[in-house]
């Protein structure tokens, strides 16, 4: 938090990619997200921070309808991706998830080869017409995932045999391979050591050039390091959403200040 760069950093004036309005999420009787409205910008890293159980992961999972897989979960409100309501009846969540990729907390490569891990998405979405194109997509995605140099000689090796940090970057490459527009990351570094974390953070910063990245993190330092905009969640409420520099240096809400200075959380 003593990092002075965050003060100088300003978010560019980008278009809104995701527009969420009055989103409420219920797990059976439990009201997990309360009236959250947020505009997520394109080509920006947006961080969701907050104490455990504040609903930041739940909200993230609303953005690609991963919550649909939980039977007791109910979502109300509007979430628009490029002016399109993603919860509209006609929208197939499968199609949505190809546009809004996701990286999970624990690296979860498929128990297949590195190549097949990355190629799976393009295959099921029919992004490649032949083997050469697929090879190209795989290579490009692995380069995007900043792991190409480490695995280019052993693409046939199982993805599960990589180290934790490599696995997570493989998962990012896998998510990138389906050519998404938004990348959701649910605490992507919480299972990684500091060196791997640094690599992934660097990667996130690069990904910003092409994608809108939304990252949930427990680490305020990480939010400060990688994001341009930060949203602070507390007990299901979106307390404050602003430029990262402002959140960390001059928060408006007293709860935000208490959290980032370590008094709550």
């Amino acid at each position: 938090m003593n990092d002075m760069r965050i003060i100088q950093r300003t978010a560019g004036m980008n278009d809104t990619k995701i527009h969420a309005k009055d989103v409420n999420v219920y797990y059976a009787e439990n009201h997990a997200i309360k009236n959250v409205s947020v505009d997520i910008e394109d080509k920006t890293v947006t961080a969701f921070i907050g104490p455990s159980g504040c609903g930041k992961s739940t909200f993230l999972r609303c953005l690609n309808r991963m919550n649909d897989t939980i039977p007791i979960c109910r979502v109300t409100g509007d979430i628009h991706l490029d002016e399109e309501d993603i919860y509209a009846k006609e929208v197939d969540p499968v199609q949505l998830r190809a546009k809004v990729g996701m990286v999970f907390q624990k690296p979860n490569p498929f128990p297949k080869s590195i190549y097949d891990n990355v190629a799976y998405g393009p295959r099921i979405h029919g992004l490649a017409r032949n083997k050469a194109e697929l090879d190209e997509i795989v290579e490009k995605s692995l380069r995007r995932g900043a792991i190409w140099d480490e695995v280019k000689d052993r693409l046939d090796a199982p993805g599960t045999g990589l180290s934790g940090g490599q696995q997570q970057r493989l998962c990012i490459a896998r998510a990138v391979a389906t050519a998404p527009e938004v990348l959701l990351m649910d605490e992507p570094c919480s299972a990684l050591d500091p060196i791997a974390t640094a690599q992934v953070e660097e990667l996130i910063d690069e990904l910003r050039q092409n994608y809108s990245v939304v990252i949930v993190t427990h680490s305020m330092q990480q939010a400060a390091r990688v994001s341009q905009k930060t949203a602070f969640f507390h007990l299901g409420d979106l307390v404050e959403y602003d430029e990262t520099g402002k959140i960390f240096t001059n928060p408006e809400d007293s709860r935000t200040e208490s959290y980032i200075t370590g008094r709550i959380g």
Binding site: R97, G101, G121
Partner: protein, 442 residues
């Protein structure tokens, strides 16, 4: 931290580390005791297993050996015509055989008096066997043919040591002490020998007049046909049902009820499935009795719960992160299940299936009710006949033999158990191999 440790210091332990205190000694003793219990339990289990195997092998292995009389016999066309025009045809053939055998014994310098009664007690109805061979193979007339004639069950058992001269009671019409002397002489002459009885494995069931010639082959085929039916039906149905219940079905009262019922079905006695099969498949739907097809259907009903339960367990064991990963990159639910979850669950599914099949293979009770315990003296003629024609199955055949009076059949029952166990063992080995293979792939 430092404050806490200073304030709450536990009372210091006294005594040297090199000397175990009373509590440690007691704990170590308890651990040792527990290990001894385990070893005792395993030893008891091993002893029973050895007893069981010894009993099976000692009783069953003789069934694979059989005393046969090997003789080169030539029948001329004139002899054939003469016999066929006679009144008592088989008697003439028997006389030819006796004449041939006598001359062979004379060649070896053995002089023994024997008549057609002795031959019948020793070898059964030889004349009939020879006649039917030449009637079916007329091209063999005039050629030297090697006949392998099975010795009667008592002579067979006499050679195996389970029958003695003392066992022959007064007025026994089936064997006389002199017959055994004759059999000994034939054995010394190398005409009557003991050899491996392939007929037991490949042959069909036979009645008391040829007890030694009974084989388990047809029932093996019957069991095999049933297993095909069980595998073809229960694997796809079971796996599809489990995938639907585990991955797609909403969790509500109704699916809970189905789940409880499936678990209960696994514990239903097999005879209940048997009577269900009798009522539904045979009486209501009019399927043929004693058919492996019906047996397979009944066993499918019995195997389904086993397969469903084990498949669901192995689907549950696949980490949810794999499903999330697939869904997260835009795979549909079915793609996630078929491409990622199912392959990972495959070893468990295969193990469950093969265990279910092995269970079905050894099942007897339902087969009794649908009539698969009949006397099957013929192989089915066509492949289709193998499913719908009457047949028996291994365990039913064993049960059938065990309940017959001739001691040869008891021996055959034990032998049949060996064959059944060999099948079960090879299925289990197959399960292990498949599990290893699929596990290594991932």
């Amino acid at each position: 931290m430092t404050d806490a440790t200073q304030g709450m210091a536990a009372p210091a332990r006294k005594g040297s580390l090199s000397q175990a205190d009373a509590r440690t000694i007691a704990r170590n003793r308890a651990e040792k005791r527990f290990q001894y219990y385990g070893i005792a339990a395993i030893t008891a289990g091993a002893v029973f297993l050895v007893l069981l195997l010894t009993a099976i092998l000692s009783n069953g292995l003789p069934a694979f050996k059989r005393a046969t009389l090997n003789i080169d016999f030539t029948l001329t066309q004139e002899q054939f015509d003469e016999a066929e025009s006679a009144m008592l045809k088989t008697k003439i053939y028997t006389n030819y055989f006796i004449a041939d055998l006598s001359s062979r014994l004379e060649e070896r310098g053995i002089e023994l008096a024997f008549d057609d009664k002795t031959i019948e007690r020793l070898l059964g109805k030889v004349g009939g066997t020879i006649r039917s061979h030449y009637r079916e193979n007329p091209q063999d007339i005039g050629e030297p043919i090697r006949f392998q004639l099975a010795a009667s069950s008592r002579v067979d058992r006499y050679f195996k040591g389970s029958f003695d001269r003392d066992d022959i009671g007064e007025g026994n019409r089936f064997i006389m002490p002199g017959d055994l002397d004759f059999a000994d002489a034939l054995r010394d002459a190398g005409i009557l020998t003991q050899s491996f009885d392939w007929n037991f494995i490949t042959g069909v069931d036979s009645g008391v007049d040829n007890a030694g010639g009974a084989g388990i082959g047809a029932s093996v085929l019957g069991s095999f046909m049933m297993m095909i039916v069980v595998l073809v039906l229960s694997l796809p149905i079971g796996v599809a049902a489990s995938i639907y219940l585990e991955e797609f079905a909403p969790k509500n009262r109704f699916t809970d009820l189905i789940e409880v019922n499936i678990s209960n079905l696994a514990a239903v006695p097999s005879i209940v499935f048997g009577i269900l099969g009798l009522a539904v498949f045979i009486q209501f739907m009019g399927m043929p009795q004693s058919a492996p097809l019906v047996g397979g259907l009944v066993l499918t009903l019995m195997t389904l719960p086993t397969i469903i339960i084990s498949t669901r367990a192995s689907l549950k064991a696949v980490p949810p992160s794999i499903r999330e990963a697939a869904l997260g990159i835009g795979a549909s639910k079915m793609q996630a299940v078929l491409h990622h979850v199912l392959p990972l669950a495959m070893p468990g599914i295969l193990t469950g299936t093969i265990i279910g099949l092995a269970q079905a293979l050894g099942e007897t009770a339902p087969l009794l009710l649908i009539g698969m315990v009949g006397f099957v003296a013929r192989y089915p003629e066509t492949f289709l006949q193998g499913f719908e024609g009457p047949n028996s199955a291994m365990p039913a055949q064993i049960y059938n033999w065990a309940s017959r009076s001739d001691a040869v059949f008891t021996e055959k029952a034990w032998g049949g158990i060996i064959i059944l166990l060999v099948f079960l063992l090879s299925m289990n080995i197959l399960a292990i191999i498949l599990r290893r293979r699929f596990e290594r792939r991932w």
